[in-house]
């Protein structure tokens, strides 16, 4: 792909999107992309009261017909829950609300009289919810939050919309979660996309640079979507509290869904276990400043 490519940017689902294509994106294709994102938001957002997720939250325990695209997304949550002993769960919505990350962006956590965070475990995805065909059954009331894998999945879905419209080579970037298609055909195609891994402790610095020709890179870190000391969006479902051992993770895989789910799982599990479950390669920055990375990554880690 010749560079600089044509870039189409817009804001959606609370983040900045950029779609790079060899030619400017036709309006009809952009409209199809925006429509797909809107449909996903109407189904899966916990930040709007007309979504499917909001309907489930109001309904409490019971059975619900799943959105048509739910299968792969919830499969990824199943895999993430298994390899993290339940730490990753799509049932953490109430826990995030309790921390202040609610639909109104209150950003004020519930605390006890002594000022300590009031947290509670989220329902266990492996036991409190069951899927059968297109139906989800919840044994107890729950607010779904698909923040751990939903954005990656949506990046894949948008990439699919582009492919369906004949846009072969492209880069879909949703706030740093990337899906790259068709940059592998040599210099004529522009060569690999190079991506710096931002150091969450100092965002003017990079921990490494990775190259992508086909596939996905997703990252997760606790420095953004953070609203106070120890208050951020990566929550351990087993406690309902933000996690502290790991500062940032990146996963490279074939799909953004796998990479995004794995990036969250890497906060809670042995990296090689996550790598085997999701078929990804990784970089993990721990809170003690140590770094661990797969040697099979295409790129360089500055360690």
């Amino acid at each position: 792909m010749p560079r600089p490519e044509a870039t189409t940017s817009f804001d959606a689902i609370g983040t900045r999107w950029a779609i790079d294509t060899p030619e400017p994106l036709p309006d009809a294709v952009l409209q199809a992309v925006r429509a797909r994102i809107d449909r996903f938001d109407r189904d899966w957002s916990r930040f709007r009261d007309d979504s499917w997720v909001a309907e489930v939250a109001r309904g409490g325990a019971g059975s619900y017909r799943l959105p048509d695209d739910a299968g792969p997304l919830l499969d990824a949550y199943d895999a993430a829950a298994r390899c993290t002993d339940g730490a990753v769960s799509p049932l953490v919505g109430r826990a995030l609300e309790g921390l202040g990350y609610d639909a109104a962006y209150t950003l004020r956590p519930r605390r006890d009289d002594g000022g300590a965070l009031l947290t509670a475990p989220a329902p266990d995805w492996r036991t409190a919810a069951r899927r059968s065909g297109g139906t989800l059954t919840l044994d107890e009331p729950a607010l779904l939050d698909v923040g751990a894998a939903g954005k990656g999945y949506l990046v894949d879905l948008v990439s699919g919309v582009l492919a369906d419209h004949g846009v072969g080579a492209h880069v879909v970037d949703a706030g740093g979660d990337l899906r790259v298609v068709g940059l592998g055909a040599g210099a004529a195609a522009g060569g690999p996309l190079t991506v710096a891994l931002e150091d969450p402790r100092d965002t003017t610095r990079a921990l490494g640079v990775l190259r992508l020709t086909d596939g996905a890179l997703c990252g997760s870190a606790t420095n953004r979507r953070a609203w106070g000391p120890g208050l951020h969006h990566v929550v351990d479902a087993r406690t309902g509290a933000p996690t502290t051992d790991v500062l940032a993770t990146w996963a490279v895989g074939g799909s953004a869904l796998a990479a995004d789910a794995a990036a969250t799982a890497l906060f809670f599990a042995e990296p090689d276990l996550v790598a085997s479950r999701f078929g990804i390669r990784y970089v993990v920055l721990r809170a003690d400043g140590s770094l661990r990375w797969s040697l099979g990554l295409d790129g360089k880690v500055f360690a």
Binding site: T15, K151, A174, V195, A196, L273, S290
Partner: protein
């Protein structure tokens, strides 16, 4: 100083041993006097790499300094372990700068088959106290970190800061 360096190294090496144990259902361990992980064998580069019956002297011994401190340089050790497919080996390379381990690299040397595939998939590097490089000096297409946040979130955060300052 020597002591803290050595402990840091042990931490790194035991991390590596976990990788290999997971990867190939065998075990290779940087055996040391206070690292009790059982079942592995590790031989230093100076010794016969195929001597699988003997636990090595540990990474601090590899440095070879009589004071127990590391001399600057790069150290290599071979580790081997048994798999159903036969004996397999890895190479571990440590870089020491200013008495601190600045880099660890594990290189698979599997002869083929599943072991080679597993080693390639799971070999990993470990480094402590990573510093990184200045982003401004890098020519890259993209930056990946935590998701950039939308205007609504940022506005709410600004409001909280304003309230806190009031």
């Amino acid at each position: 100083m020597a002591h803290s360096t050595r402990r840091r190294t042990l931490g790194l090496m035991s991390g590596l041993s976990v990788l290999v144990a997971l990867a190939a259902c065998g075990s290779a361990d940087a055996a040391t006097e206070d690292d009790a992980a059982a079942g592995g064998t590790q031989s230093e580069s100076q010794t016969d790499a195929g001597d699988t019956g003997t636990a090595g002297a540990g990474t601090d011994g590899t440095a070879g300094s009589s004071s127990g401190e590391f001399a600057d340089g790069t150290y290599t050790a071979e580790g081997s372990y048994s798999t159903p497919g036969g004996e397999e080996s890895i190479s571990v390379e440590l870089t020491v700068t200013g008495d601190v381990v600045s880099d660890v690299t594990v290189t698979p040397e599997a002869s083929g088959g599943n072991a080679a595939r597993f080693q390639e998939e799971f070999a990993s590097g470990v480094a402590d106290e990573v510093v990184g490089e200045d982003l401004a000096g890098l020519a890259v297409d993209k930056v990946s970190g935590s998701s950039l946040t939308g205007d609504g979130f940022n506005a709410a955060l600004d409001q909280i800061r304003a309230d806190a300052a009031a």
